[in-house]
Symmetry: C2
Subunit: 235 residues, 2 copies
């Protein structure tokens, strides 16, 4: 029995668990915003990067809550998953998960939704007239968390940009109340949306850190190491 | 060698192949209509019903071309699959597949697309102003095929409705130039969109035939039997 305890001790010691005892909230995937019962507005996020971060945080010993929009990839191991569809549902799930030590907002949340989704399928009336889609702004989940009364000690946002990646990402740092913005170029030519690799830039008060193109799993591992280091600095 | 030939003859005879020598075109899945490089308008079609019909037609001996929008289900066995994203791409792939003996248009094609998709990600400008989404009508693929110079001898369309299922479906018969409309109720409460079961009504010049609720595979088998019977009647 003493031998087993010693073996268990060393087995646990072999796996570094720098986030043990930490509670980490991660959002991932797209949101779907209904137009009518059969149609919706979506975006090309696969959830691969957010899910990879959730898996890496769990391996690092964190208690992980993953709030995920509609994705077709499997749930990461060792993670509590809350499934949502719309931005408003995602915000509600995020606020319900607080307080946490760290929030990583990797979901591609729709900026706008249709102001009034139709109860019945919108049909062509034969006149060639097209329906107007009046949009309204969705809640800004990252900004809400970044300025929340229960603000996590570390708030990390993502900025998926197709142009002026660094400038657009840097502008989000203060506006969203984030400690770190992970900015990436999601232009179609790059294949990031839906793909398995990612080229990110880490923006913070310390400036810009360019990471090389890596598998999304490797980006996740490195981001978890960054989180552990920052939490260590915060004490 | 003679024995092997006889065995092969009886093995083939065991499987009824009522569509042997027939060329069948099937569309399936949703279409995605881009708003900008990262956002799009979509619908809840899973492609399960269309793919099941393609598989059943192939088992019945047909040469099958399946034109599919973005789906996450596997390709059916023994079928040539052409992948498309938008309604315009689907129309082009459908016209390229003609002539065929039978067209089964099971895809949930977007009625409208965004008039001018943006080249760069549309961003919030901080003013709270929302972008207008000007829509324009997509080509009507079923109607195009139903009135085509290379019109298939048998044209079968689908009508996914959330209200007045029979009336809306029947109105489509003549307007689309279809021989048969398979109408179903896709109200969210029914769970048809994305689900595995379907309750369909077969509308034709002969009137309305209500089929019981069945697995989508069973609907597909019965529809293939209907196709074989109608082709037989046509001679």
């Amino acid at each position: 029995e003493a031998v087993a305890a010693i073996e268990a001790f060393f087995a646990a010691a072999e796996t570094p668990r720098p986030l043990a005892g930490r509670r980490v909230l991660i959002t991932s995937g797209p949101t779907h915003e209904p137009i009518d019962p059969v149609r919706y507005i979506a975006n090309r996020s696969s959830g691969r990067q957010g899910h990879a971060i959730a898996a890496a945080a769990a391996r690092a010993g964190a208690e992980v809550v993953l709030v995920s929009g509609p994705v077709t990839i499997p749930d990461p191991a060792g993670v509590a998953v809350v499934r949502v569809e719309t931005a408003r549902e995602m915000l509600a799930a995020v606020e319900a998960a607080l307080p946490v030590d760290v929030a990583v907002m990797a979901a591609a949340v729709a900026d706008w939704r249709v102001a009034t989704a139709a109860d019945a399928k919108i049909k062509k009336d034969g006149s060639g007239a097209v329906p107007g889609l009046a949009l309204t702004e969705n809640p800004d989940i990252l900004r809400t968390v970044g300025h929340h009364v229960a603000r996590p000690r570390l708030v990390i946002g993502f900025a998926a940009e197709t142009n002026d990646v660094i400038a657009n990402g840097t502008a989000k740092l203060a506006r969203k109340g984030a400690d770190v913005i992970v900015a990436n170029d999601v232009s179609p030519a790059g294949g990031v949306m839906g793909g398995t690799r990612n080229t990110v830039h880490i923006l913070s008060a310390a400036g810009v850190e360019d990471w090389p193109t890596m598998d999304k799993d490797a980006v996740a591992e490195r981001l978890v190491a960054l989180i552990a280091a920052r939490l260590g600095d915060l004490g």
